[in-house]
């Protein structure tokens, strides 16, 4: 049996990465042994809480915390992605339209999204729609700007070719313009995904009855430090899982770029 060089390198990398994780855990453990602090529980307590409180209690964690959070995040993210890509294509294709709306966009994107929370609170109440809109508004600008950039930088010869073969406008959009802008659109989606996680948590800290952010702030109010840390670990794992999922989709869609 011969392992391919790439596989060997991947295994080595994974080994190193695991070693770093173990190292950090050891430093954390040693630190808590050396200086007992109420606010920094030892890692085994935190991981035990993740295990007992979250994983063994999965149906409740999922229904009460993870699923509500995930639902808001994905709803906001997908809503923003759909509108931003559509608008981005329109702006990218029409210089005039772009000239009209770009100043407004530049102004609006300068407002930090969390600052809109009080406004949405008044307008939309404390339900899911407020949280979804907040997430959507926050993740909108990176997707929009990257789509505009991607559409503007399309090679004119791609479009000439489409014209030479009388490709219909709809197929030009779906088969030439969008694939050609896809690498930039995905760059925008990646930035937006981390913003979406941030805004999801913020919205759940503010006014919520469920969600991962809610569980964290509840633990803090009840002064359960171990639970608070466990919530942060779960949140981190959620963000990482979402990132992996997006990377896999990106690899699949952009597989033509890998030689």
């Amino acid at each position: 049996m011969t392992a391919s060089p790439q596989l060997v390198r991947a295994a080595k990398n994974l080994g190193l990465q695991l070693a770093v994780v173990v190292g950090v855990l050891i430093v954390w453990k040693v630190g808590t042994e050396w200086q007992d602090s109420l606010f920094f529980p030892s890692p085994n307590k935190v991981l035990a809480e993740v295990w007992n409180g979250w994983i063994l209690n999965w149906s409740e964690s999922w229904n009460e915390n993870i699923f509500p959070s995930l639902k808001r995040l994905l709803a906001g993210f997908l809503l923003a992605a759909a509108v931003a890509v559509a608008l981005g294509v329109a702006i990218g294709r029409s210089r005039t339209f772009g000239d009209y709306v770009e100043p407004i966009i530049n102004f609006l994107r300068s407002i930090p999204p969390p600052a809109l929370l009080p406004l949405f609170f008044v307008l939309l109440g404390i339900g899911d729609s407020m949280k979804i809109v907040l997430i959507a508004v926050g993740v909108f600008p990176p997707i929009l700007l990257n789509t505009i950039d991607g559409v503007r930088s399309i090679d004119p010869l791609y479009l000439d070719t489409a014209e030479a073969y009388r490709i219909t406008p709809l197929r030009r959009l779906t088969h030439v313009i969008l694939p050609s802008a896809a690498p930039k659109i995905f760059a925008g989606l990646r930035i937006s995904l981390s913003i979406a996680v941030i805004l999801m948590v913020i919205s759940e800290l503010y006014a919520a009855t469920n969600g991962v952010g809610f569980r964290i702030v509840q633990a803090q109010r009840q002064f359960k430090m171990v639970d608070l840390w466990a919530g942060l670990v779960v949140l981190g794992a959620m963000g990482a899982a979402l990132n992996v999922a997006l990377t896999m989709i990106e690899r699949r869609v952009l597989r033509w770029r890998q030689p």
Binding site: Y158, A164, Y165, T168, R171, H175, W256, P259
Partner: protein
Amino acid sequence: MMETEMSIDAGTSVSLAANELNHTYGAGTPEEHRALGGITFSINKGEFVAIVGPSGCGKTTLLRCLSGLMAPTSGEVTLAGEAVTSVPKDLTLVFQDYRRSLYPWLRVDANVEFPLKNSGIDKAERTERVRQALDDVGLTGHASKYPGQLSGGMQQRVSIARALAYRPNLLLMDEPFASVDAQTRASLEDVLLEVWERRKKTVLFVTHDIDESVYLADRVVVLSNAPSHVMAEIEVDIPRPRDQIETKATPEFVELRAEVARLIRDAGTRET
């Protein structure tokens, strides 16, 4: 399901005609550039015509006007008697820059098939056309690769295959072999000639290479410097099939290439 390509009605023998084409870029600005200065010529059905001219004489501008990708400032283009205002159905272009003309996100077969999906041709027929076109250019077995995995010469073959599968009666080619190495170029020239003879196409081939124009064409149209006009049309009555080595060694070939070269040199010195 056999396409009868030869059943084109033989009403008129003229395929494409250019009448007094003028084109000026940036008219009225300091950068004003007059590229075309009254070009008139025509191509007959089934003919292989090459256009040569000194570099910068507006060959690409001419081809863009002829194909309907661009409207000339004045003058008219007709295809089988009909005025050309956008790219006609019966014509397509092969661009010089194959790297940017193939879609890198589509596999080779999907690139060739892409234009066919427009025209309501059923799947079986499309697959057959793709297979045949790839076979014609010697790319059988590369169908499921991405263009980025092929060499330059092979990529240009894909774009020729795409044009062939589309089955236009008129093929416009803009220096299609200018950016491949000499050996690949010779083999692509022969592929093109072979396909042209077998499939009975009309070809308009723009090049800056004099040897190439004489080797390929029935007729060579020589353009002047910009603003370009037709300086001469030279009939090439060298028998076919032609051969890269034998044909190029014949006295007729040597004489014709010298004649074209002289015209182009004179065009270059007359102005400037």
